[in-house]
């Protein structure tokens, strides 16, 4: 890890001003940034510690019915907030299926959004990586691609975004509030993470010196609590990144789907919201036929970026599973193994 200058601004404005200097990086909990610094993937010259910024770690109920979540709020605090988890169980389930309790106790909401890819070639400074070192190439192509994208990838980069949390957020239409040198703005979470194109080094919509200050779940995100599930395929029962994952949320009125939300994780450089699939469900009777159709639509246009064709079918199946579970109803209490296929299922769904 390189030596760095350490700053501790007392306000968002101060922080944003400090970050105008190239080579600066914001430090929240550091669970991702310090890790990347240790392996030489990140070498910032200045760390701007956000610890003292006031009021960024609260959950606010806004007058219009939206919920604002401060970017410095810790994952565990959000997931265990009684009111929040009751209204947005799918977000709590996704949060609790990620990382470990120790990491969730410090990792922040904002940090989760801007965490970097787990692509092994990105994480290995000896490998060529356009995302880490623009123009150097992509050693993931032709390498081990189990973790890589099947949607939205480019010849220059096939990495995926590793977050669980962001998948239901994408489904629920979350907004990201940003402060920067040019003032305050907001972007939809689904536009926050950029697809690689030929500029994979541009990972998010954030400009130089811009800081994520909050996340907002709009009023339209409410009303899914009774039928919302996150499901995650892992290579061990816990403490593992998703191979693929899916968040599905349904508003069911009188036996019909009034509104559906569906997003996939582990398949692209952003949490992948499947709006066509959502549209196909509107007005449909919840059931296998509608869900199969939606799941197929969600993967339309998917193509392997290497030896990972299996992920397309897996993603389709996990979308189907998430929809099926969502229709069956959100359990009163989060399962002991959040988002796991081994959490008890209502009604023996596999039969």
């Amino acid at each position: 890890m390189n030596r760095f200058e350490y700053l501790r601004p007392q306000s968002v404005a101060e922080a944003v001003a400090a970050a105008a200097v190239p080579g600066s990086a914001f430090l929240a909990a550091g669970t991702n940034l310090l890790d990347l610094m240790k392996i030489g993937v990140a070498r910032p010259q200045r760390l701007i510690d956000l610890k003292d910024l006031p009021d960024l770690d609260i959950i606010e109920q806004l007058p219009d019915g939206a919920v604002r979540i401060g970017a410095q709020l810790r994952n565990a605090e959000l997931a265990h907030d009684p009111d929040f988890r009751q209204r947005f169980p799918i977000v709590a389930e996704a949060l609790l299926s990620g990382a470990s309790a120790q990491l969730r106790n410090v990792a922040t909401v904002g940090g989760n959004l801007i965490q970097r890819t787990r692509c092994a070639y990105f994480q290995d400074p000896a490998s060529a990586c356009n995302r880490r070192a623009p123009g150097s190439g992509c050693d993931a192509r032709g390498g081990d691609t189990r973790q890589h994208a099947v949607l939205g990838w480019s010849e220059d980069c096939i990495a995926t975004h590793p977050s669980d949390f962001c998948v239901p957020l994408a489904a629920l239409g979350a907004m990201v509030e940003i402060e920067g040198p040019a003032g305050r703005r907001e972007v939809a979470l689904t536009d926050f993470h950029l697809l690689p194109g030929n500029t994979p080094e541009r990972e998010t919509a954030l400009g130089q010196g811009e800081l994520v200050t909050a996340l907002r779940l709009p009023p339209a995100a409410a009303g899914f609590a009774r039928h919302a599930r996150y499901v995650k395929l892992r290579e061990r029962t816990s403490f593992a990144f998703a191979v693929v994952s899916a968040a599905a949320a349904l508003r069911i009125v009188d036996g019909r789907i009034q509104e559906a939300r569906l997003a996939l994780g582990g398949v692209a450089a952003r949490p992948w919201r499947a709006e066509e699939a959502e549209a196909s469900l509107r007005g449909a009777t919840p059931g296998a036929e509608a869900f199969h159709r939606a799941a197929a639509l969600a993967l339309e246009g998917a193509r392997p970026s290497g030896d990972n064709e299996f992920k397309i079918e897996l993603a389709r199946r996990i979308a189907l599973r998430a929809l099926t579970l969502a229709a069956a109803g959100t359990p009163d209490r989060l399962p002991a193994l959040p988002a796991s296929p081994f959490a008890p299922l209502p009604g023996g769904l596999h039969v």
Partner: protein
């Protein structure tokens, strides 16, 4: 039941006492090597190669030296001289090492420089600033490499080929034949404690805090490398944070010792987790082809087990995977063959159950496949082919309670009523459910060890032996053996261990440490008691005078007449009257060639696994593991159960999780951490149970103890793979079994 019968009056042997080092370990006071801080300590950090073959052409030494806090950069040019080339093989178990002898790179992760600094932070950054450049050469890192060869020896010296009977004829005449290829990946030990050393020189005397599973082997190697007498080297290793074979021999810590020599100050070198995927050995990958033939009634007629494995380009360690087929199943014809390829990797080495782990996985799967071909229950098939004598040698077993293991394990698991056909069971949630089994086996080995016992005038006892504690519970089990041998209550026994300046107690490896060092302790204790007895029975003032012919036994700190325990005398009184502060006894243990000539000696077990498989997603969870093991006399059932459970969890890991992902272009391990290289977490282990099956063995050693440390991994990996098949009907032969492999195999099924 049986457990209480084993507890003998006045002895702690067989009792499930809690770990003696428990309080130290739960309070953070157990001192591991990296916890030491001698005065003037500097920190050393390795720089390692990112190419797998070629030369280092440039290192930015100036940048590293300029970094504040950096004291020295050790490179081939300024590395202190060694008395012996690191590739010199003059002593046993001298594996070639990379100690900055030149600019050659032989594998990814090879040390190429050492940066020494006042702080760990400075040394770490100094190593990064070296930013090496290379002249890279093409690499080969997979079993498909071009040049295979038949090694002269496999494992620790066994033949690469063993033929018993005519396998081809047996296969030809068989009613049922199967042929299948199983692949296992490169695996890394990943003990939780990374390799570490705190080294301090005083002239030609070397003081080391360093985890080691073998004091004498390590001392010998270091003495040779540095050209100093063995007795000049003191190694303290009171606790090893897991070894699993990776800490048997001198490792890359030698570079820390060299660094200390270079700077003339004590140096601490601790490997990073990523560096645990390079110079600390690994389990070699295998590709095993099994061909089995059976008669219509399920009797095996022939078994051919061929293992292809890999070693490094610069040294030989050949995983003896096919050996697993020598002992388990009776067949008139058994042939095992091995070939290997040379790869641009580090040299493989001993990793928990080397050979048996990989080999028994393939064998147990093949046996299962043959049982299916014969239409037989897997347990019935194994019993049909039960080996009454060791098949390959014809020798009787010194003991073999495998039938009892099968019976007790099957009963506990509820094996009876298992449907033959796969994909017949689901749980309440609709998940596929499968049951599988495997046979476990591991040789009962003995090495050499010495011990020294002392009885003191205050009535206490001392046992000294350079034994190793790496989680087996050595301090506890050895104290139990020592106290028993000296006729003392445990509280009166002091155990000195975990240092090199004690009697040589051999290695903690081959599941033989308790048997070997324990036998030496027993002998030492008996010698001390004999000396004390002589004092008593020849002294007219002793109540034991003249009892020599009748016999005297030690009991609770007293010697008593065998025929009348009420007549006796405290140790303290005997010593006081003799005017002695203490009496001493020395003991040793070694393999008994005569017993080895007559008997085949193995531990055995049977493992039963239940898995749940998500039929759509292919994710697997092992919901129950039941193992029943027979390994001779059990010193401490609590510790032994933990050893078995740990081994079974390794088996689970082998079947479903572990494996290095090697980039074939660069030769680098791409998951060289603990996020990408999966080992089981707590949630992976909902239920694991080990049953101790009674077994008496009069031949293995004086204690009747066989090994328990490695057998758990054997049998288990196969049982889980077989359970996955039983759940899904999909036979996956490439390990670890991944969700997509299961789904692919399920999709390929007819119907």
């Amino acid at each position: 039941m049986s457990e209480t019968q084993r507890i003998r009056h006045g002895s702690s042997i067989g009792q499930p006492i809690t770990r003696r080092d428990g309080p130290l370990k739960v309070t953070g006071q157990a001192r591991f090597a990296a916890d030491n801080h001698p005065q003037g300590l500097l920190h050393a950090v390795l720089a390692t190669s990112s190419i797998a073959r070629g030369r280092v052409t440039f290192l930015d030494e100036a940048a590293a030296r300029a970094h504040p806090g950096v004291v020295q950069v050790m490179l081939p040019g300024n590395r202190p001289a060694l008395a012996q080339h690191p590739d010199d093989k003059s002593a046993p178990f001298s594996f070639n090492m990379d100690l900055l002898q030149d600019d050659r790179v032989r594998y990814a992760g090879q040390p190429i420089a050492v940066v020494i600094a006042e702080t760990l932070e400075a040394a770490t950054e100094g190593a990064a600033l070296l930013a090496p450049r290379y002249a890279a050469e093409p690499v080969e890192v997979t079993l498909d490499a071009t040049s295979s060869y038949v090694p002269e020896a496999i494992g620790v010296g066994g033949p690469a080929e063993l033929r018993h009977g005519d396998a081809e004829a047996g296969l030809q005449g068989a009613a049922h034949r199967i042929e299948a290829v199983y692949e296992t990946p490169q695996q890394f030990h990943n003990a939780m404690e990374p390799h570490a050393v705190v080294a301090a020189w005083d002239g030609d005397r070397l003081s080391l805090d360093m985890p080691t599973q073998g004091f004498a082997l390590t001392q010998m190697r270091l003495a040779g490398l540095f050209g100093i007498p063995v007795e000049n080297i003191v190694i303290r290793s009171p606790f090893i944070g897991g070894g699993f074979g990776s800490k048997l021999l001198a490792g890359p810590q030698v570079l820390g010792i060299l660094a200390a020599r270079l700077v003339g100050r004590p140096v601490k070198l601790v490997l990073t987790r990523a560096q645990m995927y390079g110079p600390v050995t690994h389990r070699a990958p295998t590709r095993q082809r099994l061909r089995l033939g059976a008669a219509p009634d399920g009797a095996l007629l022939a078994l051919h087990h061929h293992a292809r494995t890999a070693t490094s380009r610069f040294d030989d360690f050949i995983e003896p995977a096919a050996n697993a087929s020598h002992t388990l199943y009776a067949a008139p014809a058994i042939v095992t063959t091995t070939d290997a390829v040379r790869l641009d990797t580090g040299t493989p080495g001993f990793m928990r159950a080397p050979g048996e782990a990989s080999g028994s996985l393939a064998l147990e799967c093949a046996i299962d496949e043959m049982a299916e071909a014969c239409g037989m229950d897997p347990l019935a098939f194994r019993l049909r082919n039960y080996a009454e004598v060791e098949p390959i040698s014809g020798k009787p077993f010194s003991s073999k309670a495998l039938r009892e293991c099968y019976a007790e394990g099957a009963a506990r698991f509820g094996w009876e009523g298992r449907k033959l056909a796969p994909r017949q069971m689901r749980d309440a949630d609709g998940l596929l459910l499968g049951w599988g089994m495997g046979t476990a086996t591991f040789p009962a080995l003995m090495f050499q060890a010495e011990a020294r016992a002392v009885l003191r005038r205050d009535g206490s006892g001392l046992m000294e032996a350079g034994t190793h504690e790496m989680g087996q519970g050595a301090w506890t089990a050895f104290a139990q053996i020592a106290a028993e041998s000296l006729g003392l209550d445990l509280e009166r026994l002091e155990l000195r261990a975990g240092r090199s300046d004690l009697p040589n107690a051999g290695i903690a490896g081959g599941s033989a440490h308790t048997a070997t060092a324990g036998s030496a302790m027993q002998a030492a204790g008996e010698a001390a008691i004999a000396r004390l007895t002589e004092l008593a029975v020849t002294d007219p003032r002793s109540p034991l005078f003249g009892a020599g012919n009748i016999g005297v036994v030690p009991r609770g700190g007293r010697l008593v007449r065998w025929d009348d325990p009420s007549r006796g005398e405290d140790y303290a009184e005997i010593l006081a009257r003799a005017g002695l502060e203490q009496v001493e006894g020395r003991g040793s243990a070694a393999p008994d060639p005569a017993a080895a000539e007559r008997y085949a000696m193995h531990s055995h077990g049977a493992v039963f696994a239940e898995v749940k498989v998500d039929p759509d997603l292919g994710q697997v969870r092992v919901t129950r593991l039941v193992g029943a093991f027979a390994a001779g006399r059990i010193i401490n059932p609590r510790l032994v159960q933990s050893q078995y459970q740990g081994g079974m969890i390794w088996g689970l890991s082998f079947a479903l999780q572990e494996g290095a992902v090697m980039d074939p272009r660069s030769g680098r391990v791409m998951n060289a951490d603990l996020a990408g290289y999966h080992v089981p977490v707590n949630a992976d282990i909902p239920s694991v149970e080990a049953i101790l099956v009674e077994e008496e063995d009069r031949h293995v050693n004086a204690l009747g103890v066989k090994g328990v440390g490695e057998i758990g991994i054997t049998g288990t990996a196969g049982a889980i793979a077989n359970a996955v098949w039983h759940a899904t009907g999909a036979r996956v032969r490439q390990f670890p079994i991944t969700p997509e492999a299961i789904l692919r195999a399920m999709a390929a099924q007819p119907g």
